[in-house]
Each structure stands twice: as C-alpha cells, then as structure tokens.
C-alpha cells in the first residue's frame, strides 16, 4: 500500500524539465498530462460520434508513407468527403499518421508534435516498419516499435499501404472512436513515465521540455 502511495505522490509531482536551460525553463510548463475521464454516457457517445465525423490529420510526412497521403488528399480518393482534412499545425490536428519507419531524428519530432496536439488525439501507424521494424529491423537509426514511444490506435499493414488501405484504416479508427475505445491520450497520461523513459532512452540529447503542450 505504501508503495502505491509513493507512486501517487510522484504522479502529482511536477516535471523536472532537466533538458532545458534555466532561461528556457520559465518558458515551458512543467505540468503532467492528465487523464480525461469520460463525461455522462449519452453525452460522451454524442461527442465520440462528432469526433469521428471530422478527423483532421497532421500533415507531417514522417516516412515514406507520406507518398500515399498525397493521392489520398487529391481528387481520385478525395478524403475530404469522409471528413478528413490535412492540417499544417499540430495544434489544429486530431490524427497523427506515422508514415512508416521513424528514424531517431524524426522520433524526437514525432514525440514533440504528438504532445503538442490537442486532445482528443489519435494515432494511425502505417506499414510494417511501425509494427516490428519492417525492413529496417537491423538499422541502427530507425526504431522498431512505435508503440513504445507513443500510443497507437490503429495499425495499417503494407509497404506502403495503399490509399484504399489508409481509408479503411480511417474507417476502423472512426469505429473505434464511436465505440469509445480510442483512448490513446489517456493511455499516454497514465503511463507517462514509462513512455518518457523509453523516449529518453533513445533520444540522447533531450533538449526539450518533458511534456510539450
């Protein structure tokens, strides 16, 4: 019992932001992410339905998956009719598409962009590389499992997944949101220390705030 209490205390504690200089520390918040509990059931269902209708995705081509986003955005597949639109800024987006492999340099930006996104936020991981390393399983510079660094809602396999697969992925994500299961953000908040530990293990020059929002 005592041990649990310590954990509770730790969770209340503010973040250290060790990677920042003293001057920068004043510029960033040191609060932890909080779990957002669902509100009243019917109201939550309505909210989930509404969320699923309008998915704004972050236009960040992190890997080669970005090449199939372009056809998806344009007239042949026309994703806007499904309520999906690309946004240039993380602040406006609710879906983060990890386009395949993430190199060490990119995963740092992925973490930062993900944390900057407003909730509710969802992650779709494309391609083999995000699942188990894909064809870069032995590369010294790409990570093998994206779910160790940020929570993932939907996996789409393929190399690269075609636009049709991506659309199917979006449909599945919508289902998941409507069912109220797309709680990656809460998972991130709950296991924040674990995620942070994994992230800091590979990103060796951590010069950004611990939780960037």
């Amino acid at each position: 019992m005592e041990k649990k209490d310590i954990n509770e205390v730790e969770k209340q504690m503010n973040l250290a932001n060790d990677g920042l200089s003293d001057k920068e520390k004043t510029l960033f918040s040191d609060a932890r992410p909080q779990v957002v509990p669902p509100v009243h059931k019917i109201f939550e269902n309505f909210r989930n339905w509404a969320r699923a209708q309008s998915l704004w995705m972050l236009a960040f081509g992190t890997g080669c998956g970005a090449i199939e986003l372009r056809p998806l955005m344009t007239s042949r597949y026309d994703m806007s009719r499904y309520g999906i639109a690309p946004r240039p800024s993380p602040r406006q987006s609710s879906v983060f598409i990890i386009g395949g492999y993430a190199s060490l340099k990119t995963i740092k930006r992925i973490v930062r962009s993900y944390e900057q996104m407003q909730g509710p936020k969802f992650v779709i991981a494309l391609g083999s590389c995000t699942i188990n390393g894909g064809m870069y399983y032995d590369s010294y510079y790409t990570i093998n499992r994206i779910d160790h660094y940020i929570p993932v809602d939907i996996y789409v396999t393929g190399c690269m997944p075609r636009p049709e697969s991506l659309l199917a992925g979006f449909n599945k994500l919508k289902e998941r949101i409507r069912a109220g299961r797309a709680d990656g953000m809460n998972k991130y908040a709950e296991n924040f220390d674990w995620y942070k530990k994994n992230q800091k293990r590979i990103i060796k020059d951590w010069n950004m705030p611990d939780y960037n929002w």
Binding site: L58, A59, F60, G61, T62, G63, C64, A66, I67, E68, R70, P71, M73, T74, S75, R76, P86, P88, P90, Y101, S103, K105, T106, R109, S113, M135, Y136, D138, S139, Y140, Y141, T142, C159, M160, R162
Partner: protein
C-alpha cells in the same frame, strides 16, 4: 512544346542596400541584436519537400542565412546492404527514393550484372527503359503539382497527382506494386508485360497529354507563376560545374548534361531524343525544362512501345541466389533520374555480400550547398518554391 528561348526579362538582382554586410559571400548577423529572427522551416511543415528542415535567419521577411538539416529519413541503406546478399539488396534499393524508385533499381541491377558478367536479354532492356521513362513521367507529374502547390495553386496538384495515380495503375499492372515496384532484378525483369498493356498505356498517355495542355495554360502561362518564379534562384552556368549540379537543373542553366544522351545506357541509343536546355537558369526556366522533359518522356514511351520486340526472354540465367558470389571489382553505374545523375558505386570482394554500395543521390548538392547559397536574400515565402524548383529529394540525400 514550344522551343524554350532566351528569356526576355532580366535576371533578378536583389536590392542589397538594406541587408547586412557580406563577409566571404555570407552575410554577417548578430542574433542578439533583435534585428534577426531564427526560425525552423520543417521538418513538420507543409512547405518542405519530404522530411527535412531549413534553419532560417530572417530579417523582416527576407532570408539572411539558411542552413539545411537532413537525416530525418536516414535508414542506413548502405550499411544494411553490406549485410544482405546480392539478391536481398534489391527490395531495399527502391526505398531510397520514394517518388522514383526505378532508377535505383536499374542502377543496382546494372551494377551487379556488370560485376557478375551477365548480359541481360534484349527485351528486358526495352522493358527496363520503358519502366524508367514511365517513372520519370510519374515523378515529373508529382513535381509539377509540388511546384504549383508551393505557389498556392493546389488545384494543379489535384490534377497531376491523380494523373500520376493512373500511371501508378500501369505500374501495378506491370510489376505488382504501386509505389515500390521491385521489378528490375539483377538479370532482367520479373514479369513480362501483361496482355493489352500497350493499349492502356496509350490511353493514359492521351489523358496525360490533354492534362499537360491545360497545365500549360493554367500554370506555365500564368501571371502568378511568372511573377513568383522568374528570377528566383538564379544559377549561372559557371556554378553548375562548381557545385556539381546535374539534371534538369543544370540543363536549365544551359549545360547540356543528360546521362541518357551523353553516356547512353539500356536502349537509349536507339531512341530519338533531343537535349532540352534553357540558358536562363532561374526557377521558371527549370519549370519549363521539366515540363518539356515530361513531354519528351511521353514521346520516348511511345517510341519504346513501337520499337520494342514483342517476344523474347526477360531474364538472363543467374546462379542460385542464396549462394551467389560475385568476383571482386568496382564499378560506378549512373542513370538519369528526374533530378539528374543518379549513381550507384558498387564494390564487391568475391563474397556473397557487397563490400560497399554508395548511392549518389542526384539532389545531394541541390538540397544543401546550392539551396543554402540560393536561399539567401530571398523572401521567406519563396523558400518553398525555391526548394521545389531544385527538386530536392531528402531520402536520397541521407539514404
């Protein structure tokens, strides 16, 4: 396509009076003076091609200094290939450049064949050439969309990317893959062309030609395009050799450098083609050259379809791929990609694994040395257009 003639307008010369003093060709600035701001464009920015970033120092909206940062797509291909058998390398090489994987496949296969002493059948050569030209068209279409998009003309991108998708359908039919074709293997190609392929290619060519006419009207002969691109990123001919500039970028500056014509490979010596050059050297000239190259590639596809042998073997005999050893040697194979001279430098040492494979990405210098030089003293709103006009492709830089 009209002849690209000498332009009637003058080269753009920036008004230098309000800029800081130059020292060794670089402006001097002091970030603490509060006159300059440092901003990062990318990697999470819709205005950069692919996944790279520009570290810009700006004064107002003028760029004072630019540094490019690459490595966001680094996957260590060259290292990985050192621990894969020859045949196992071939699925990995096409990943080096996403919009145009086939040049990589060709260079790798041709290099392996040369070192192993394999002659590929005549028909395989024709199919490879067809494949390369098709991928050029697809890549150029995407580029036109990108260049238009960088000027805010999203609709052009909507058209060209969709048209590219029709070309990808052809690739899918031919090779079984949309983006990564993995079609040319050491020894030849993997499948014969499907039945009725020629007709479908002709249909797509017809559509593409119609679209290109519209693009010429709406994008090339457009007041906005001209005012934004003319004079932007001027590359004098002297700079071409100094900076190792290749491909359409070099040709737009009056340097007739095209690997297909200077050092013909595959069946390019049997095709009729013209060197497309312009002696203006700015972003608009590059746009025109690339536009003309798209049409040239379509012409070449028609020629190939016409001249190609209808029957024949598509694969030379190769040893058991699990135990394939290649005698020691080195070679440098180059091919013309949409961005220019794309090359593979391969060293073998008689074992089952390549000793060293180096990929010379065509836009290696374009995106770094050249971009850093050209981006100085332009408006920050033009950096995206400049970057696209140099046709940078980050994955082939960092590999």
């Amino acid at each position: 396509m009209k002849e690209i003639s000498k332009s009637k307008y003058k080269n753009y010369v920036a008004d230098r009076s309000k800029y800081p003093l130059l020292k060794d060709g670089k402006p001097e600035f002091d970030l603490n003076s509060h006159m300059f701001t440092k901003i990062w464009q990318g990697p999470q920015h819709p205005g950069v091609t692919g996944n790279m970033s520009l570290e810009l120092v700006i004064n107002g909206d003028e760029v004072i200094d630019c540094k490019t940062h690459v490595g966001y797509l680094h996957r260590a291909f060259e290292k990985l290939m050192e621990r894969r058998k020859f045949m196992q390398c071939f699925p990995i090489v096409c990943r080096i450049c996403v919009p145009e994987p086939d040049t990589n496949e060709y260079c790798f296969s041709a290099g392996i064949e040369e070192l192993a002493g394999i002659d590929i059948p005549e028909k395989a050569k024709w199919i490879r050439t067809l494949n390369l030209e098709m991928s050029r068209v697809a890549s150029f279409l995407m580029w036109i969309g990108g260049q238009a998009g960088s000027l805010g003309m999203g609709i052009i991108g909507q058209w060209t990317v969709t048209m590219r998708d029709f070309w990808l359908d052809l690739f899918e039919e031919m090779s079984g893959g949309r983006i990564y074709h993995m079609y040319m293997i050491p020894g030849g190609v993997r499948k014969d062309l499907p039945e009725g392929f020629e007709l479908r290619v002709k249909k797509v060519i017809k559509q593409t030609r119609e679209l290109l006419v519209d693009i010429e009207k709406s994008f090339l002969n457009n007041a906005i395009t001209k005012s934004r691109l003319q004079g932007l990123g001027f590359i004098p001919p002297e700079m071409v050799e100094e900076y190792g500039i290749v491909g359409p970028t070099a040709r737009a500056s009056g340097k007739p450098f095209d690997v297909r014509q200077n050092n013909p490979y595959l069946v390019y010596d049997q095709l009729v083609m013209k060197m497309i050059t312009s002696d203006v050297g700015d972003a608009y000239a590059r746009t025109l050259v690339r536009f003309a190259e798209t049409i040239l590639s379509i012409d070449l596809i028609e020629q190939i379809m016409h001249k190609m042998p209808k029957t024949g073997k598509i694969q030379a005999k190769i040893p058991n791929v699990l135990n394939w050893k290649i005698p020691a040697g080195q070679t440098y194979i180059k091919a013309e990609s949409t961005r220019g001279e794309h090359g593979f430098y391969i060293i073998t040492d008689g074992s089952k694994y390549p000793r060293r494979i180096f990929v010379r990405g065509a836009s290696y210098t374009h995106a770094i040395s050249v971009l850093e030089k050209l981006a100085v003293n332009i408006s920050i709103s033009d950096t995206a257009a400049l970057m696209v006009s140099l046709h940078t492709c980050p994955p082939e830089i960092e590999r």
